[in-house]
């Protein structure tokens, strides 16, 4: 009896979680620009392809996310490994503080730093500042994911590797890293999502010439609903979904 209530509630909760995105996707195929259904059409996707601003923003977002993910995953993984070897309280404290600091605060403080640098050096805001910001705040997430994986790791594996002639670095590269690989993939996926997702910090440190996808969606959302944004959103939902399925597959191969 009680379990049936629970299942009914769960159905409601899953509807709450998924209906908004589903409706959005369905209406991206609407022929009308209004919220009346007037028949199936791909015209808003065609509009997307013509919109150079959107395409450039999408490319920027992908470029930033790929670069930030690659850097943050490498830096975070080796940092987590270093911390695993022997704790580094100051670094760990800073990383955790970064995690709980409100995004808006991280954003404005970076803006303050970059403006200061701009004053004294010929330093401009742009893709590079966005990537720097994204790498910095993603590291903490990567470290947490890798640390969770390292917790279950047998310390004698590395000793065995060195015992058999591998140097410290060799033991890390040939034994620890392969064993950590599922964690590394999960961490990279998280870093990618966080980077691709970010609006608050990005909008503050991107300067006037650089626009990312969330920034374009933000401007459009403020102006009013447009079916083109629906189409863009639907593409993001599908793209991210595909990425996760691919990552899951990759992870299964590794375990």
């Amino acid at each position: 009896m009680k379990n049936r209530w629970l299942a009914a509630y769960a159905a409601f909760a899953y509807l709450f979680l998924h209906v908004p995105l589903l409706v959005l996707t369905v209406f991206s195929f609407n022929a009308s620009r209004f919220t009346h259904w007037e028949g199936f059409s791909l015209k808003w996707y065609a509009v997307l392809l013509e919109d150079h601003r959107l395409i450039e923003a999408a490319l920027n977002s992908i470029l930033i996310a790929v670069a930030a993910t690659a850097l943050a995953t490498v830096i975070g993984t080796i940092a987590a490994y270093g911390i695993w070897k022997r704790s580094a309280p100051v670094l760990e404290g800073s990383l955790y503080t970064g995690l709980v600091t409100p995004e808006i605060v991280t954003g404005v403080s970076l803006l303050a730093l970059f403006q200061g640098l701009f004053h004294y050096f010929n330093f401009r805001l742009g893709l590079h500042t966005v990537i720097l910001a994204h790498v910095t705040f993603s590291i903490a997430y990567v470290v947490i994911v890798i640390q969770a994986r390292l917790k279950t790791m047998d310390k004698s594996l590395e000793e065995a590797a060195m015992d058999l002639g591998a140097t410290e670095f060799g033991a890390f590269r040939k034994v620890t890293l392969p064993v950590l690989m599922p964690g590394v993939i999960a961490a990279a996926l998280l870093a990618f999502t966080i980077s691709f997702d970010d609006y608050v910090i990005t909008s503050l440190v991107s300067g006037v010439d650089t626009e990312t996808l969330p920034m374009v969606i933000y401007t459009m959302a403020r102006k009013g609903v447009s079916p083109a944004v629906n189409a863009m959103s639907a593409l993001i939902v599908i793209g991210v979904g595909a990425l996760i399925v691919a990552a899951e597959k990759l992870q299964q191969q590794h375990t």
Partner: protein, 277 residues
């Protein structure tokens, strides 16, 4: 070994120092400076940026931000706990799927998610259009641009953060405990309240922290779904750094917001202990 470790920690140390701690230090410095005539900041040093926070206008926003964050967290808890319970009690072969379905919206873009709700709720949105089409209402209902919409957006955005930690504590619970409780004559409700909920406390605590912190510092949701009418501290901070160009005051506000989060977290960590991690 130590040498390799030093090299491995160096990039993370460099970045967190250069692009997290140093900027924060600059904000601390700015918060004691005076705003220049055309924006910018300089001498003399002052505490005025902090005393201005006592202004009822800002106090009200602060209280409201707390209120919205608390309410959002409470709703997430009420909605998230039964969902986590459902997942934990479903067969092991299904759990992964149910969890992935909770996480799926989280993996898609936050802005897209917020936009999706705007698409549903606005005056010419799906709900109003549908209701008007059915003749249920003549004027569109004011569904968007109010506190309720902000709370809805926050709950939708952070519900997965509540479900996951509660699920992981529930999953570890021994099913025999439930049988033992039933054996001792407890009704399912009594078992739920006296066994399941108390044992899930670490997860409830962790989930509440994970939801409350981003809600308190929220910027995007109140901005878009509150439509500028319903603003929280995050929005005031942003305004000071952009349109108002009052960086010293914005800096002071940022620090107060961060300090509030830290104090709260420290308090919970001290009470909840290591359970959180």
């Amino acid at each position: 070994m130590n040498q390799l470790r030093t090299w491995f920690l160096a990039p993370a140390r460099l970045l967190t120092f250069g692009f997290f701690l140093a900027p924060l230090a600059i904000v601390v410095l700015y918060s004691f400076l005076t705003r220049g005539t055309y924006g910018g900041q300089g001498a003399p040093f002052t505490l005025e940026n902090y005393t201005r926070l006592a202004d009822p206008l800002y106090l009200e926003i602060l209280v409201k931000s707390f209120w919205i964050a608390i309410l959002s967290t409470a709703i997430c808890l009420v909605m998230g706990f039964p969902l986590a319970l459902f997942i934990a009690r479903s067969g092991p072969q299904w759990r992964g799927t149910w969890i992935n379905l909770v996480m799926l919206p989280f993996w898609t873009n936050f802005l897209v998610r917020t936009y999706a709700w705007m698409f549903l709720l606005r005056d010419t949105g799906l709900i109003n259009t549908a209701f008007q089409g059915l003749g249920l209402i003549s004027q569109p209902l004011p569904l968007l641009y109010n506190d309720g919409a902000v709370i809805l957006g926050l709950v939708y955005g952070y519900l997965p953060f509540m479900v996951l930690p509660i699920f992981s504590t529930l999953e570890r619970q021994d099913p025999f405990l439930l049988e033992a409780a039933a054996d001792l004559g407890a009704t399912p409700w009594q078992t739920l309240w006296r066994v399941t909920v108390p044992m899930a406390k670490p997860g409830i605590l962790a989930g509440s922290v994970l939801v409350f912190i981003p809600c308190l510092g929220a910027y995007l949701t109140p901005d878009l779904m509150g439509g500028g009418k319903s603003i929280m501290i995050g929005n005031v901070v942003q305004q000071q750094f952009t349109s108002s160009r009052d960086w010293p005051f914005g800096a002071a506000l940022s620090l107060v917001l961060t300090a509030l989060v830290m104090v709260l977290l420290w308090f919970i960590m001290r009470r909840g202990g290591k359970e959180l991690i």
